[in-house]
Symmetry: C4
């Protein structure tokens, strides 16, 4: 089965997710600089989520470059990922509007974990489809970054009971770790195309 429409549909959904988040930046009633002040936490959480969704799009893009075809299970694994990503605008707004208090920050972390797990399921379903010796399987390797991220999210969630600000900083740290697109795949592709 061709991967073209899966990519197009995912691009569409991710484009909408990344854009509708800005709708939560509600236009303030006043026209003073003061009126913008309550929006600062909403803006910060928007920024973090924009980076996260951007990371997922980048990795999705990178991964599907080495994918040759898809099957029914991959379609659902992809929809499963999109489902958890679709909840990001909700938790983003809840966290931002409540100034990073405990429960919103915890739920933000839970949604990040679920996205991470869903992405992992997508990777596994693709490797199962492409084969253990496929370019993709080699490129992904043991997925250290993916594993460590989920661990850090879990720690961040636990620390929200101490101070939700620590959790937020940890979410930011993971984003920084992922900021650099998946060089592993880029290298593999290059290596494949230009072997010595």
């Amino acid at each position: 089965m061709d991967k073209g429409r899966l990519e197009a549909f995912s691009d569409g959904v991710i484009a909408i997710i990344i854009t509708i988040m800005v709708l939560e930046l509600r236009v303030p009633h006043g026209d003073s600089l003061q009126a913008l002040k309550p929006l600062i936490p909403v803006f910060i959480s928007y920024l973090l989520s924009f980076i996260y969704i951007g990371i997922y799009w980048n990795n999705h893009h990178h991964m599907f470059q080495v994918v040759k075809s898809v099957n029914g299970f991959v379609l659902w694994a992809n929809l499963h990922l999109l489902f958890w990503m679709s909840l990001v605008p909700f938790v983003t707004a809840w966290m931002g509007e409540n100034n990073f208090t405990k429960w919103p920050t915890i739920f933000y972390g839970i949604s990040l974990i679920m996205c991470g797990v869903a992405y992992r399921i997508l990777v596994i379903s693709l490797i199962r489809h492409e084969g253990e010796n496929s370019l993709l399987a080699e490129a992904v390797g043991n997925d250290f970054k993916g594993r460590i991220s989920v661990v850090i999210y879990a720690i961040a969630i636990a620390l929200a009971w101490v101070n939700p600000c620590i959790s937020f900083v940890l979410y930011g740290v993971v984003a920084c770790v992922w900021f650099i697109p998946d060089r592993r795949i880029e290298k593999k592709v290059m290596h494949e195309e230009h072997p010595q």
Copy 2:
């Protein structure tokens, strides 16, 4: 006429439908766990509708894989399907916000029936265009799943007068039936490509 733009446009509309539903998960005012409680039924109906829209996208995707070209009638049959699908976010929110009471649950069922009928019209218009002996016609066959779904929706609607929860369970049952993408087409395609 080329099928490319019909697929792209449908992908766009379906991507928006599946994503704007999450806008009905309105950010609660409080930051406690309690504040999320009224959102549980809204979340459950969002989940069901996400699966339904996902199913339609999957089947649409599968079906158009074996379609070779489209005509003006198919374009309208497709828009007709998208029209009924575009009402799903509305009935989803109405049902969720009213905790699965009678009339919202009935209207949810009606919109599912209309989507099912519209999908059937699309299939018929495609078979008429492609020919009775086309790959598509063989792949769809007698469409037992499609027929039985509409019957179950009708039963679910009738039972809403007794207890709307039964209706909701039945909607879920149909979703489970459809969850598995249309193997018939996948098999046909494979058979066509790799005949013994």
Copy 3:
């Protein structure tokens, strides 16, 4: 210049326009059949606009099938069309929520005229780019349907001072006239591809 991205971008914008209109079907607070009653005019105007946007998408699709390339002027003529189409959700909601009273119905007609004029400008800019003897120029011909539509819209607007319901009926009549996709182009394409 390639026409691919113009088509993709237009598909995206039109998909969003046709879908966000449903957001004006605001979820009623009650769960009774009565609660849906005030939504009936909103639904009717949504239905009419859905058909209109569908018609524009269909005609856009048909027209660009015979277009070979685009230039900077065509890009702007297309954006100009999308601008007027983007106002349709606004006038649709205004008309629906006010139960088809005079001014909303007039503005709905004005937006339809502007869309019609913008479409004509797009056609002219494309013919200028493709040449007077191009397939497109022949296919469009004297554009009788386009001209008569604008005349009927103008009459409908004038009659809104008498009774806005007449205007609405006239808008519906034009939609029916356009419902059938542009056979002229389909015929031309077929003729071109399979000349006797």
Copy 4:
């Protein structure tokens, strides 16, 4: 790395940005001509932003025509541009709803500067990837229009302390300067394809 999905994703995000702005044109409660009056400044700022987003899409489209491939840095430079563009609907609505008072007009200008800077970063990252002697580098040249725009935005922001209307006029002037799509690239492409 292929540029196709970057274009598709950007088209999706830009299509959504340009369309959700119209959601700020909130349907008035009355049905009289008077009820539309408060919407006039919102409409004017919508019009200006529509033109700006249209300009960015046009230039993006033109630029990527001569781009051959992308890398991870370009993906992020592009997401960075989309981030600042995603704030345009917010500042547009804030400016329109406050009738072009000082602070909203200043923030509108700031978001335009940031979009301009982000676009410049994207151009530089593309030139670095394609090479100093690439078609793109030649086509962009010294980017006089880009530089002068940022200078005019800065002047406009400074003049907002005198009179925000002057700022708005200056934003409009820059839009006019950019209205004409980037002939430089069009000429380069033609020259490349049809050298004497």
